[in-house]
Protein backbone atom coordinates (compact mmCIF):
# COMPACT_ATOMS: atom_id res chain seq x y z
CA UNK A 1 0.00 0.00 0.00
CA UNK A 2 1.31 3.41 -0.96
CA UNK A 3 2.51 5.60 1.90
CA UNK A 4 0.61 8.46 0.28
CA UNK A 5 -2.74 6.68 0.28
CA UNK A 6 -5.14 8.22 2.79
CA UNK A 7 -8.57 6.92 1.89
CA UNK A 8 -9.58 3.87 -0.04
CA UNK A 9 -13.06 2.62 -0.92
CA UNK A 10 -13.21 -0.91 -2.33
CA UNK A 11 -16.46 -2.22 -3.81
CA UNK A 12 -18.52 -0.04 -1.53
CA UNK A 13 -22.29 -0.25 -1.76
CA UNK A 14 -24.99 1.65 0.03
CA UNK A 15 -28.70 1.02 -0.03
CA UNK A 16 -31.76 2.04 1.99
CA UNK A 17 -34.93 0.15 2.62
CA UNK A 18 -37.99 2.31 2.08
CA UNK A 19 -41.18 0.44 2.82
CA UNK A 20 -40.82 -2.84 1.00
CA UNK A 21 -38.49 -1.41 -1.60
CA UNK A 22 -34.69 -1.42 -1.40
CA UNK A 23 -33.16 1.69 -2.94
CA UNK A 24 -29.54 1.42 -4.03
CA UNK A 25 -27.42 4.55 -3.84
CA UNK A 26 -24.11 2.96 -4.88
CA UNK A 27 -22.96 -0.45 -5.82
CA UNK A 28 -19.33 -1.47 -6.22
CA UNK A 29 -17.92 2.02 -5.82
CA UNK A 30 -14.12 2.36 -5.80
CA UNK A 31 -12.17 5.44 -4.86
CA UNK A 32 -8.69 6.31 -3.66
CA UNK A 33 -7.64 9.60 -2.17
CA UNK A 34 -3.99 10.37 -1.55
CA UNK A 35 -2.52 12.63 1.07
CA UNK A 36 -2.45 16.24 -0.05
CA UNK A 37 -5.18 15.67 -2.64
CA UNK A 38 -7.95 18.19 -3.24
CA UNK A 39 -10.88 16.35 -4.76
CA UNK A 40 -14.13 17.90 -5.92
CA UNK A 41 -17.14 15.61 -6.18
CA UNK A 42 -19.85 16.84 -8.50
CA UNK A 43 -23.09 15.37 -9.65
CA UNK A 44 -26.80 16.03 -9.96
CA UNK A 45 -29.09 16.00 -6.93
CA UNK A 46 -29.70 12.47 -5.72
CA UNK A 47 -26.52 11.15 -7.31
CA UNK A 48 -25.21 10.10 -3.89
CA UNK A 49 -22.45 12.66 -3.45
CA UNK A 50 -23.53 13.75 0.04
CA UNK A 51 -24.00 10.10 1.05
CA UNK A 52 -20.44 9.47 -0.16
CA UNK A 53 -19.20 12.45 1.86
CA UNK A 54 -21.04 11.16 4.94
CA UNK A 55 -19.43 7.79 4.47
CA UNK A 56 -15.98 9.35 4.18
CA UNK A 57 -16.68 11.26 7.39
CA UNK A 58 -17.88 8.19 9.28
CA UNK A 59 -21.31 9.72 9.65
CA UNK A 60 -22.87 6.97 7.56
CA UNK A 61 -21.80 3.33 7.21
CA UNK A 62 -21.63 1.42 3.93
CA UNK A 63 -23.96 -1.52 3.32
CA UNK A 64 -21.11 -3.50 1.79
CA UNK A 65 -17.47 -3.25 0.73
CA UNK A 66 -14.47 -1.85 2.58
CA UNK A 67 -13.51 1.65 3.66
CA UNK A 68 -9.92 2.11 4.79
CA UNK A 69 -8.37 5.25 6.24
CA UNK A 70 -4.65 5.55 6.69
CA UNK A 71 -4.32 1.79 6.23
CA UNK A 72 -6.98 0.77 8.75
CA UNK A 73 -10.56 -0.37 8.16
CA UNK A 74 -13.14 2.12 9.44
CA UNK A 75 -16.34 0.61 8.00
CA UNK A 76 -16.56 -1.90 10.85
CA UNK A 77 -16.00 0.52 13.75
CA UNK A 78 -18.67 0.97 16.44
CA UNK A 79 -20.50 4.28 16.68
CA UNK A 80 -18.46 5.47 19.64
CA UNK A 81 -15.20 4.41 17.98
CA UNK A 82 -16.25 6.28 14.83
CA UNK A 83 -17.02 9.37 16.92
CA UNK A 84 -13.49 9.27 18.36
CA UNK A 85 -12.04 8.60 14.90
CA UNK A 86 -13.86 11.64 13.50
CA UNK A 87 -12.59 13.82 16.35
CA UNK A 88 -8.97 12.88 15.55
CA UNK A 89 -9.00 12.72 11.77
CA UNK A 90 -11.80 14.71 10.16
CA UNK A 91 -12.64 18.39 9.92
CA UNK A 92 -16.11 19.22 8.61
CA UNK A 93 -17.09 22.35 6.71
CA UNK A 94 -20.84 22.64 6.15
CA UNK A 95 -22.88 24.59 3.61
CA UNK A 96 -24.68 26.57 6.32
CA UNK A 97 -21.55 26.88 8.52
CA UNK A 98 -23.26 25.13 11.50
CA UNK A 99 -21.71 27.47 14.05
CA UNK A 100 -23.10 27.45 17.57
CA UNK A 101 -25.08 30.71 17.66
CA UNK A 102 -24.61 31.18 21.41
CA UNK A 103 -20.80 31.02 21.24
CA UNK A 104 -18.44 33.66 19.90
CA UNK A 105 -16.03 32.91 17.08
CA UNK A 106 -13.17 31.86 19.36
CA UNK A 107 -15.42 29.56 21.40
CA UNK A 108 -16.76 27.99 18.23
CA UNK A 109 -13.27 27.35 16.96
CA UNK A 110 -12.25 25.92 20.34
CA UNK A 111 -14.97 23.21 20.28
CA UNK A 112 -12.93 20.40 18.65
CA UNK A 113 -10.09 21.12 21.09
CA UNK A 114 -12.35 20.32 24.03
CA UNK A 115 -12.07 16.71 22.87
CA UNK A 116 -8.29 16.80 23.31
CA UNK A 117 -6.14 16.88 26.43
CA UNK A 118 -4.66 20.28 25.58
CA UNK A 119 -4.42 22.83 28.38
CA UNK A 120 -6.60 25.91 28.32
CA UNK A 121 -3.62 28.07 27.40
CA UNK A 122 -2.62 25.73 24.57
CA UNK A 123 -6.21 25.67 23.31
CA UNK A 124 -6.30 29.46 23.30
CA UNK A 125 -3.03 29.57 21.36
CA UNK A 126 -4.30 27.10 18.75
CA UNK A 127 -7.57 29.02 18.38
CA UNK A 128 -5.62 32.25 17.79
CA UNK A 129 -3.48 30.53 15.17
CA UNK A 130 -6.51 29.09 13.35
CA UNK A 131 -8.35 32.40 13.38
CA UNK A 132 -5.22 34.20 12.13
CA UNK A 133 -4.94 31.69 9.29
CA UNK A 134 -8.47 32.53 8.10
CA UNK A 135 -7.88 36.27 8.65
CA UNK A 136 -10.33 36.70 11.53
CA UNK A 137 -8.07 37.49 14.49
CA UNK A 138 -9.97 40.72 15.07
CA UNK A 139 -13.33 38.93 15.14
CA UNK A 140 -12.55 36.40 17.87
CA UNK A 141 -15.07 37.85 20.29
CA UNK A 142 -17.82 38.36 17.73
CA UNK A 143 -20.95 36.25 17.79
CA UNK A 144 -21.97 34.46 14.57
CA UNK A 145 -24.99 36.77 14.25
CA UNK A 146 -22.58 39.72 14.08
CA UNK A 147 -20.69 38.31 11.11
CA UNK A 148 -21.35 37.99 7.37
CA UNK A 149 -21.86 34.60 5.70
CA UNK A 150 -18.30 34.61 4.38
CA UNK A 151 -16.89 35.41 7.81
CA UNK A 152 -19.00 32.68 9.39
CA UNK A 153 -17.70 30.17 6.87
CA UNK A 154 -14.16 31.25 7.62
CA UNK A 155 -14.84 30.65 11.33
CA UNK A 156 -16.16 27.20 10.33
CA UNK A 157 -12.92 26.57 8.40
CA UNK A 158 -10.88 27.65 11.41
CA UNK A 159 -12.93 25.22 13.52
CA UNK A 160 -12.29 22.45 10.97
CA UNK A 161 -8.51 22.91 10.95
CA UNK A 162 -7.84 23.87 14.58
CA UNK A 163 -7.21 20.30 15.70
CA UNK A 164 -5.04 19.62 12.64
CA UNK A 165 -7.12 16.75 11.16
CA UNK A 166 -5.82 14.67 8.29
CA UNK A 167 -8.84 15.28 6.07
CA UNK A 168 -11.20 18.20 5.50
CA UNK A 169 -14.67 17.29 4.24
CA UNK A 170 -16.58 20.19 2.71
CA UNK A 171 -20.28 19.90 1.95
CA UNK A 172 -21.18 22.64 -0.57
CA UNK A 173 -18.96 25.11 1.33
CA UNK A 174 -19.85 28.02 -0.94
CA UNK A 175 -23.48 27.09 -1.64
CA UNK A 176 -24.78 29.88 0.57
CA UNK A 177 -22.34 32.59 -0.51
CA UNK A 178 -22.12 35.16 -3.31
CA UNK A 179 -19.53 34.66 -6.04
CA UNK A 180 -16.87 36.99 -4.63
CA UNK A 181 -17.10 35.58 -1.14
CA UNK A 182 -17.27 32.06 -2.53
CA UNK A 183 -14.01 32.66 -4.41
CA UNK A 184 -12.35 33.94 -1.23
CA UNK A 185 -13.40 30.80 0.63
CA UNK A 186 -12.25 28.53 -2.21
CA UNK A 187 -8.90 30.34 -2.38
CA UNK A 188 -8.55 29.73 1.31
CA UNK A 189 -9.24 26.01 0.86
CA UNK A 190 -6.73 25.96 -1.98
CA UNK A 191 -4.16 27.63 0.24
CA UNK A 192 -4.76 25.11 3.00
CA UNK A 193 -4.24 22.34 0.48
CA UNK A 194 -1.25 23.80 -1.31
CA UNK A 195 0.66 25.48 1.51
CA UNK A 196 -0.39 23.41 4.50
CA UNK A 197 -0.78 20.04 2.84
CA UNK A 198 -4.37 19.49 3.90
CA UNK A 199 -6.25 16.72 2.08
CA UNK A 200 -9.64 18.04 1.05
CA UNK A 201 -12.75 16.41 -0.35
CA UNK A 202 -15.40 18.89 -1.44
CA UNK A 203 -18.92 18.16 -2.64
CA UNK A 204 -20.26 20.90 -4.88
CA UNK A 205 -22.80 21.68 -7.56
CA UNK A 206 -20.75 24.59 -8.78
CA UNK A 207 -18.30 23.94 -11.67
CA UNK A 208 -16.49 27.19 -10.83
CA UNK A 209 -15.86 25.88 -7.31
CA UNK A 210 -14.68 22.52 -8.65
CA UNK A 211 -11.97 24.30 -10.64
CA UNK A 212 -10.14 25.07 -7.40
CA UNK A 213 -9.67 21.34 -6.79
CA UNK A 214 -6.83 19.21 -8.19
CA UNK A 215 -9.31 16.80 -9.69
CA UNK A 216 -13.03 16.45 -10.08
CA UNK A 217 -15.04 13.28 -9.84
CA UNK A 218 -18.48 13.17 -11.41
CA UNK A 219 -20.97 10.97 -9.66
CA UNK A 220 -24.15 9.95 -11.43
CA UNK A 221 -26.62 7.27 -10.38
CA UNK A 222 -24.13 5.92 -7.88
CA UNK A 223 -21.18 5.60 -10.25
CA UNK A 224 -18.20 7.77 -11.15
CA UNK A 225 -18.85 8.54 -14.79
CA UNK A 226 -15.74 10.45 -15.66
CA UNK A 227 -12.45 11.29 -13.98
CA UNK A 228 -10.40 14.20 -15.13
CA UNK A 229 -7.56 16.32 -13.80
CA UNK A 230 -8.50 19.95 -13.57
CA UNK A 231 -5.38 21.68 -12.31
Amino acid sequence: MSQDLLFQLNGVSKSFVKGKEEISIFSDLNLTIERGDFVAIMGPSGSGKTTLLNMLGGVDQPSGGEVSFDGARVDNLSESALTRWRAHNIGFIFQFYNLMPMLNAARNVELPLLLTKLSKAQRRKNVETALALVGLSDRAKHMPSEMSGGQQQRVAIARAIVSDPKLLLCDEPTGDLDRTTADEILEMLQLLNRDHGKTIVMVTHDPAAAKYANRTLHLDKGKFVQRELVA
Binding site: V59, T83, H88, P101, L114
Partner: protein
Protein backbone atom coordinates in the same frame (compact mmCIF):
# COMPACT_ATOMS: atom_id res chain seq x y z
CA UNK B 1 -16.14 16.28 31.49
CA UNK B 2 -15.17 19.34 29.44
CA UNK B 3 -17.42 18.00 26.64
CA UNK B 4 -20.38 17.67 28.99
CA UNK B 5 -19.77 21.06 30.60
CA UNK B 6 -19.45 22.73 27.18
CA UNK B 7 -22.67 21.16 25.90
CA UNK B 8 -24.55 22.00 29.12
CA UNK B 9 -23.39 25.62 28.95
CA UNK B 10 -24.40 25.86 25.27
CA UNK B 11 -27.84 24.44 26.01
CA UNK B 12 -28.41 26.84 28.84
CA UNK B 13 -27.18 29.78 26.79
CA UNK B 14 -29.62 28.84 24.04
CA UNK B 15 -32.58 29.08 26.45
CA UNK B 16 -33.60 32.60 25.35
CA UNK B 17 -34.52 31.07 21.96
CA UNK B 18 -37.12 28.98 23.76
CA UNK B 19 -38.01 31.61 26.33
CA UNK B 20 -41.74 31.00 26.69
CA UNK B 21 -41.55 27.23 26.64
CA UNK B 22 -38.75 27.36 29.19
CA UNK B 23 -40.67 29.81 31.38
CA UNK B 24 -43.71 27.53 31.24
CA UNK B 25 -41.60 24.69 32.62
CA UNK B 26 -40.14 26.93 35.33
CA UNK B 27 -43.61 28.09 36.35
CA UNK B 28 -45.12 24.60 36.33
CA UNK B 29 -42.35 23.35 38.62
CA UNK B 30 -42.74 26.45 40.81
CA UNK B 31 -46.48 25.92 41.29
CA UNK B 32 -46.08 22.24 42.17
CA UNK B 33 -43.32 22.97 44.67
CA UNK B 34 -45.21 25.93 46.20
CA UNK B 35 -48.34 23.83 46.71
CA UNK B 36 -46.43 20.94 48.24
CA UNK B 37 -44.61 23.28 50.60
CA UNK B 38 -47.83 25.09 51.55
CA UNK B 39 -49.52 21.84 52.57
CA UNK B 40 -46.49 20.55 54.40
CA UNK B 41 -46.01 23.89 56.17
CA UNK B 42 -49.65 23.81 57.21
CA UNK B 43 -49.37 20.29 58.61
CA UNK B 44 -46.05 21.11 60.26
CA UNK B 45 -47.46 24.29 61.82
CA UNK B 46 -50.53 22.52 63.14
CA UNK B 47 -48.49 19.70 64.59
CA UNK B 48 -46.12 22.17 66.24
CA UNK B 49 -49.05 24.06 67.75
CA UNK B 50 -50.57 20.91 69.16
CA UNK B 51 -47.43 19.21 70.38
CA UNK B 52 -46.10 22.46 71.86
CA UNK B 53 -49.06 22.56 74.21
CA UNK B 54 -48.39 19.46 76.18
CA UNK B 55 -46.12 19.02 79.18
CA UNK B 56 -44.66 15.74 80.40
CA UNK B 57 -44.92 17.05 83.91
CA UNK B 58 -48.72 17.31 83.72
CA UNK B 59 -51.08 14.33 83.87
CA UNK B 60 -54.37 14.66 82.01
CA UNK B 61 -57.36 12.65 83.14
CA UNK B 62 -60.63 12.22 81.23
CA UNK B 63 -63.52 9.83 81.52
CA UNK B 64 -62.60 6.45 80.12
CA UNK B 65 -63.42 6.20 76.42
CA UNK B 66 -63.40 9.95 75.79
CA UNK B 67 -61.33 10.76 72.75
CA UNK B 68 -61.21 14.47 73.53
CA UNK B 69 -61.83 16.85 76.39
CA UNK B 70 -65.23 17.81 75.00
CA UNK B 71 -66.68 14.31 75.40
CA UNK B 72 -65.57 13.79 78.97
CA UNK B 73 -67.52 14.27 82.23
CA UNK B 74 -65.91 14.07 85.65
CA UNK B 75 -67.75 14.51 88.95
CA UNK B 76 -66.54 16.61 91.87
CA UNK B 77 -66.25 13.42 93.94
CA UNK B 78 -63.73 12.07 91.45
CA UNK B 79 -61.76 15.32 91.63
CA UNK B 80 -61.69 14.97 95.40
CA UNK B 81 -60.32 11.43 95.13
CA UNK B 82 -57.60 12.52 92.68
CA UNK B 83 -56.53 15.27 95.08
CA UNK B 84 -55.62 12.49 97.53
CA UNK B 85 -53.75 10.43 94.92
CA UNK B 86 -50.01 9.64 95.15
CA UNK B 87 -47.49 10.86 92.59
CA UNK B 88 -48.99 14.36 92.45
CA UNK B 89 -46.92 17.39 93.38
CA UNK B 90 -48.09 19.53 96.30
CA UNK B 91 -47.38 22.98 97.61
CA UNK B 92 -48.43 24.91 100.72
CA UNK B 93 -52.01 25.13 99.44
CA UNK B 94 -52.29 21.39 98.84
CA UNK B 95 -52.13 19.16 95.75
CA UNK B 96 -51.47 20.80 92.36
CA UNK B 97 -54.68 19.62 90.72
CA UNK B 98 -56.77 21.62 88.22
CA UNK B 99 -60.28 20.43 87.41
CA UNK B 100 -61.33 22.10 84.18
CA UNK B 101 -64.41 22.65 82.02
CA UNK B 102 -64.39 22.85 78.26
CA UNK B 103 -67.42 24.21 76.42
CA UNK B 104 -67.93 25.47 72.90
CA UNK B 105 -68.97 29.01 72.00
CA UNK B 106 -69.37 30.79 68.67
CA UNK B 107 -66.85 33.18 67.19
CA UNK B 108 -66.91 35.17 63.94
CA UNK B 109 -63.84 34.51 61.81
CA UNK B 110 -62.01 37.51 60.41
CA UNK B 111 -61.93 37.59 56.66
CA UNK B 112 -64.69 35.10 55.89
CA UNK B 113 -67.13 36.42 58.52
CA UNK B 114 -68.30 32.85 59.11
CA UNK B 115 -69.17 31.33 62.48
CA UNK B 116 -66.74 28.88 64.01
CA UNK B 117 -66.43 27.00 67.30
CA UNK B 118 -64.11 28.37 69.96
CA UNK B 119 -63.35 26.57 73.20
CA UNK B 120 -64.19 28.35 76.44
CA UNK B 121 -62.14 26.79 79.20
CA UNK B 122 -63.13 27.07 82.81
CA UNK B 123 -60.21 26.87 85.21
CA UNK B 124 -58.75 28.47 88.30
CA UNK B 125 -55.41 29.95 89.31
CA UNK B 126 -53.91 26.45 89.85
CA UNK B 127 -54.72 25.51 86.26
CA UNK B 128 -53.04 28.63 84.98
CA UNK B 129 -49.97 27.98 87.07
CA UNK B 130 -49.65 24.59 85.36
CA UNK B 131 -49.22 26.32 81.98
CA UNK B 132 -45.69 27.43 82.67
CA UNK B 133 -45.37 29.57 79.55
CA UNK B 134 -48.65 31.44 80.11
CA UNK B 135 -48.15 35.20 79.99
CA UNK B 136 -50.61 38.06 80.19
CA UNK B 137 -49.93 40.31 77.20
CA UNK B 138 -52.55 42.93 77.98
CA UNK B 139 -55.06 43.72 80.70
CA UNK B 140 -55.40 41.64 83.84
CA UNK B 141 -56.53 38.23 85.11
CA UNK B 142 -60.26 37.56 85.35
CA UNK B 143 -61.78 37.93 88.78
CA UNK B 144 -63.21 34.63 90.05
CA UNK B 145 -66.98 34.72 90.50
CA UNK B 146 -67.54 37.27 87.71
CA UNK B 147 -68.38 37.10 83.99
CA UNK B 148 -64.87 38.12 83.04
CA UNK B 149 -62.60 36.25 80.70
CA UNK B 150 -59.19 36.45 79.14
CA UNK B 151 -58.62 35.59 75.48
CA UNK B 152 -55.78 33.78 73.75
CA UNK B 153 -53.62 35.78 71.35
CA UNK B 154 -54.58 33.41 68.51
CA UNK B 155 -58.27 34.12 69.03
CA UNK B 156 -57.57 37.86 68.93
CA UNK B 157 -55.72 37.42 65.61
CA UNK B 158 -58.26 35.23 63.86
CA UNK B 159 -61.65 36.23 65.29
CA UNK B 160 -63.62 39.45 65.46
CA UNK B 161 -64.87 41.14 68.60
CA UNK B 162 -62.46 39.86 71.26
CA UNK B 163 -60.52 43.07 71.81
CA UNK B 164 -59.67 44.06 75.35
CA UNK B 165 -62.69 45.69 77.06
CA UNK B 166 -65.26 44.27 74.64
CA UNK B 167 -68.45 42.70 75.91
CA UNK B 168 -69.42 39.46 74.22
CA UNK B 169 -72.70 37.60 74.40
CA UNK B 170 -72.72 33.80 74.46
CA UNK B 171 -76.36 32.66 74.72
CA UNK B 172 -77.96 34.56 77.57
CA UNK B 173 -74.71 35.58 79.18
CA UNK B 174 -72.57 38.61 78.55
CA UNK B 175 -68.83 38.31 79.20
CA UNK B 176 -66.22 41.04 79.39
CA UNK B 177 -62.73 40.64 77.98
CA UNK B 178 -60.30 41.81 80.65
CA UNK B 179 -57.02 40.37 79.39
CA UNK B 180 -55.11 38.83 76.49
CA UNK B 181 -52.72 35.95 77.10
CA UNK B 182 -50.07 34.03 75.24
CA UNK B 183 -48.85 30.47 75.79
CA UNK B 184 -45.97 30.65 73.33
CA UNK B 185 -48.01 29.93 70.19
CA UNK B 186 -49.44 26.56 71.24
CA UNK B 187 -53.05 25.35 71.13
CA UNK B 188 -54.07 27.06 74.40
CA UNK B 189 -53.80 30.39 72.58
CA UNK B 190 -56.87 29.31 70.61
CA UNK B 191 -58.99 29.36 73.78
CA UNK B 192 -60.98 31.67 76.01
CA UNK B 193 -60.39 31.26 79.71
CA UNK B 194 -62.82 32.09 82.49
CA UNK B 195 -63.66 31.05 86.03
CA UNK B 196 -64.65 27.36 86.08
CA UNK B 197 -67.42 27.93 88.63
CA UNK B 198 -69.10 30.62 86.48
CA UNK B 199 -69.09 28.25 83.49
CA UNK B 200 -70.56 25.44 85.60
CA UNK B 201 -73.35 27.80 86.58
CA UNK B 202 -74.08 29.31 83.13
CA UNK B 203 -73.94 25.99 81.29
CA UNK B 204 -75.86 23.97 83.91
CA UNK B 205 -72.95 21.67 84.63
CA UNK B 206 -73.69 21.44 88.37
CA UNK B 207 -70.41 20.58 90.05
CA UNK B 208 -69.06 18.48 87.20
CA UNK B 209 -65.90 19.05 85.22
CA UNK B 210 -64.50 17.55 82.02
CA UNK B 211 -60.82 17.07 82.68
CA UNK B 212 -58.43 17.02 85.55
CA UNK B 213 -54.88 18.20 85.18
CA UNK B 214 -52.36 17.27 87.83
CA UNK B 215 -48.76 18.33 88.25
CA UNK B 216 -46.68 15.17 88.57
CA UNK B 217 -44.15 14.74 91.34
CA UNK B 218 -41.76 13.19 88.81
CA UNK B 219 -42.27 14.43 85.24
CA UNK B 220 -43.38 11.60 82.93
CA UNK B 221 -43.95 9.14 85.80
CA UNK B 222 -47.62 8.19 85.75
CA UNK B 223 -47.17 4.87 87.55
CA UNK B 224 -48.22 5.79 91.13
CA UNK B 225 -51.26 7.69 89.85
CA UNK B 226 -52.20 4.91 87.44
CA UNK B 227 -51.98 2.28 90.18
CA UNK B 228 -54.17 4.46 92.39
CA UNK B 229 -56.83 4.96 89.64
CA UNK B 230 -56.84 1.26 88.75
CA UNK B 231 -57.36 0.34 92.39
CA UNK B 232 -60.18 2.81 92.99
CA UNK B 233 -63.50 1.62 91.44
CA UNK B 234 -65.01 5.12 91.47
CA UNK B 235 -62.29 6.44 89.17
CA UNK B 236 -63.10 5.28 85.67
CA UNK B 237 -60.52 7.65 84.23
CA UNK B 238 -58.20 7.53 81.29
CA UNK B 239 -54.73 8.78 82.19
CA UNK B 240 -52.01 10.10 79.97
CA UNK B 241 -49.45 12.86 80.02
CA UNK B 242 -50.63 16.14 78.56
CA UNK B 243 -47.89 15.94 75.91
CA UNK B 244 -49.10 12.49 74.79
CA UNK B 245 -52.67 13.77 74.54
CA UNK B 246 -51.79 16.73 72.31
CA UNK B 247 -49.38 14.69 70.21
CA UNK B 248 -52.34 12.38 69.42
CA UNK B 249 -54.54 15.36 68.62
CA UNK B 250 -51.83 16.80 66.34
CA UNK B 251 -51.65 13.55 64.39
CA UNK B 252 -55.30 13.93 63.45
CA UNK B 253 -54.25 16.53 60.91
CA UNK B 254 -51.57 14.35 59.40
CA UNK B 255 -54.04 13.93 56.53
CA UNK B 256 -53.07 17.48 55.53
CA UNK B 257 -49.55 16.35 54.75
CA UNK B 258 -50.82 13.23 52.98
CA UNK B 259 -53.39 15.26 51.03
CA UNK B 260 -50.69 17.77 50.13
CA UNK B 261 -48.43 15.04 48.83
CA UNK B 262 -51.24 13.47 46.79
CA UNK B 263 -52.25 16.83 45.29
CA UNK B 264 -48.61 17.67 44.58
CA UNK B 265 -48.08 14.27 42.98
CA UNK B 266 -51.07 14.75 40.65
CA UNK B 267 -49.97 18.28 39.81
CA UNK B 268 -46.41 17.06 39.34
CA UNK B 269 -47.68 14.65 36.69
CA UNK B 270 -49.27 17.61 34.88
CA UNK B 271 -46.09 19.65 35.24
CA UNK B 272 -44.10 16.68 34.01
CA UNK B 273 -46.20 16.46 30.84
CA UNK B 274 -45.59 20.17 30.19
CA UNK B 275 -41.91 19.87 31.01
CA UNK B 276 -41.53 16.87 28.69
CA UNK B 277 -43.05 18.93 25.92
CA UNK B 278 -40.62 21.77 26.67
CA UNK B 279 -37.64 19.45 26.61
CA UNK B 280 -38.69 17.66 23.42
CA UNK B 281 -39.08 21.08 21.83
CA UNK B 282 -35.63 21.99 23.08
CA UNK B 283 -34.09 18.89 21.52
CA UNK B 284 -35.90 19.57 18.22
CA UNK B 285 -34.74 23.20 18.34
CA UNK B 286 -31.15 22.14 18.96
CA UNK B 287 -31.18 19.18 16.57
CA UNK B 288 -28.72 20.71 14.17
CA UNK B 289 -26.41 21.88 16.96
CA UNK B 290 -26.47 18.44 18.60
CA UNK B 291 -25.75 16.74 15.27
CA UNK B 292 -22.97 19.21 14.43
CA UNK B 293 -21.28 18.55 17.75
CA UNK B 294 -21.58 14.81 17.12
CA UNK B 295 -20.02 15.34 13.68
CA UNK B 296 -17.14 17.22 15.33
CA UNK B 297 -16.56 14.20 17.57
CA UNK B 298 -18.60 14.95 20.68
CA UNK B 299 -20.02 11.77 22.21
CA UNK B 300 -23.71 10.98 22.58
CA UNK B 301 -23.29 10.90 26.36
CA UNK B 302 -22.48 14.62 26.31
CA UNK B 303 -25.67 15.26 24.30
CA UNK B 304 -27.60 13.25 26.91
CA UNK B 305 -26.05 15.02 29.90
CA UNK B 306 -26.41 18.44 28.29
CA UNK B 307 -30.15 17.95 27.88
CA UNK B 308 -30.57 16.57 31.39
CA UNK B 309 -28.60 19.55 32.72
CA UNK B 310 -30.91 21.97 30.92
CA UNK B 311 -34.00 20.24 32.36
CA UNK B 312 -32.51 20.25 35.84
CA UNK B 313 -31.62 23.94 35.63
CA UNK B 314 -35.15 24.87 34.52
CA UNK B 315 -36.83 22.68 37.15
CA UNK B 316 -34.43 23.86 39.86
CA UNK B 317 -35.19 27.48 38.95
CA UNK B 318 -38.88 26.60 39.27
CA UNK B 319 -38.26 24.88 42.59
CA UNK B 320 -36.41 27.91 43.89
CA UNK B 321 -39.17 30.24 42.71
CA UNK B 322 -41.84 28.00 44.23
CA UNK B 323 -39.96 27.78 47.52
CA UNK B 324 -39.52 31.54 47.64
CA UNK B 325 -43.21 32.07 46.86
CA UNK B 326 -44.20 29.56 49.53
CA UNK B 327 -41.88 31.25 52.02
CA UNK B 328 -43.09 34.78 51.21
CA UNK B 329 -46.79 33.93 51.12
CA UNK B 330 -47.12 31.13 53.66
CA UNK B 331 -44.35 31.17 56.26
CA UNK B 332 -45.85 32.42 59.52
CA UNK B 333 -49.29 32.75 57.93
CA UNK B 334 -51.99 32.46 60.56
CA UNK B 335 -54.82 30.09 59.94
CA UNK B 336 -57.38 28.20 61.95
CA UNK B 337 -58.91 24.85 61.44
CA UNK B 338 -61.03 22.32 63.24
CA UNK B 339 -59.10 20.57 65.98
CA UNK B 340 -59.78 17.37 67.86
CA UNK B 341 -62.72 18.76 69.91
CA UNK B 342 -64.62 20.29 66.99
CA UNK B 343 -63.20 23.65 67.93
CA UNK B 344 -60.98 25.99 66.00
CA UNK B 345 -57.26 25.72 66.53
CA UNK B 346 -55.30 28.76 65.48
CA UNK B 347 -51.86 27.97 64.13
CA UNK B 348 -49.11 29.38 61.93
CA UNK B 349 -47.70 27.78 58.78
CA UNK B 350 -44.21 26.60 59.61
CA UNK B 351 -41.81 26.62 56.64
CA UNK B 352 -38.90 24.77 58.19
CA UNK B 353 -35.62 24.17 56.28
CA UNK B 354 -36.28 20.46 55.75
CA UNK B 355 -39.40 21.37 53.77
CA UNK B 356 -37.24 23.33 51.33
CA UNK B 357 -35.16 20.20 50.88
CA UNK B 358 -38.35 18.28 50.04
CA UNK B 359 -39.30 21.01 47.55
CA UNK B 360 -35.87 20.88 45.95
CA UNK B 361 -36.02 17.08 45.66
CA UNK B 362 -39.44 17.30 43.98
CA UNK B 363 -38.23 19.96 41.53
CA UNK B 364 -35.12 17.99 40.62
CA UNK B 365 -37.20 14.85 40.19
CA UNK B 366 -39.46 16.71 37.74
CA UNK B 367 -36.35 17.99 35.97
CA UNK B 368 -34.70 14.60 35.73
CA UNK B 369 -37.81 12.74 34.58
CA UNK B 370 -38.77 15.40 32.06
CA UNK B 371 -35.21 15.55 30.75
CA UNK B 372 -34.53 11.82 30.54
CA UNK B 373 -36.50 10.81 27.44
CA UNK B 374 -35.72 13.97 25.44
CA UNK B 375 -32.06 13.50 26.43
CA UNK B 376 -32.26 9.94 25.15
CA UNK B 377 -33.60 11.29 21.87
CA UNK B 378 -30.77 13.85 21.76
CA UNK B 379 -28.22 11.10 22.33
CA UNK B 380 -29.69 9.06 19.46
CA UNK B 381 -29.88 12.07 17.10
CA UNK B 382 -28.49 10.98 13.72
CA UNK B 383 -25.33 12.94 12.88
CA UNK B 384 -26.61 13.25 9.33
CA UNK B 385 -29.03 15.96 10.57
CA UNK B 386 -26.03 18.30 10.61
CA UNK B 387 -25.82 18.09 6.82
CA UNK B 388 -29.46 18.85 6.14
CA UNK B 389 -30.40 22.13 4.56
CA UNK B 390 -31.58 25.13 6.48
CA UNK B 391 -29.65 27.53 8.61
Amino acid sequence: MSQIAAVAVMNIRSLPRRLWMSLAMVLASAVVVAILLAFLAMARGFEATMSGAGSDAVALMMREGSQAELNSVIGRDQVNLIEEAPGIARDADGPLVSPELYVIVDGIKKGTGGKANIPLRGLDARGMAMRGNMQLLEGRMFTPGTNEMIVGAGILREFDGFQLGNEIRFGKNVWTVVGVFSTGGNVFESELWADAKMIQSHYNRGSSYQTIRAQLENPGNLEPLKAYIDAEPQLNLELKTESAYFAEQGKQLQYMAIFGRVISFIMALGALAGALNTMYTSVADRAKEIATLRALGFGNFSAFCGTIAEALVLAAAGGLLGSLAAFVFFDGLNASTLGGSFTQVVFSFDMSPDLFVQGAVLALLIGFLSGFFPAWRAARMPVIVAFRNGA
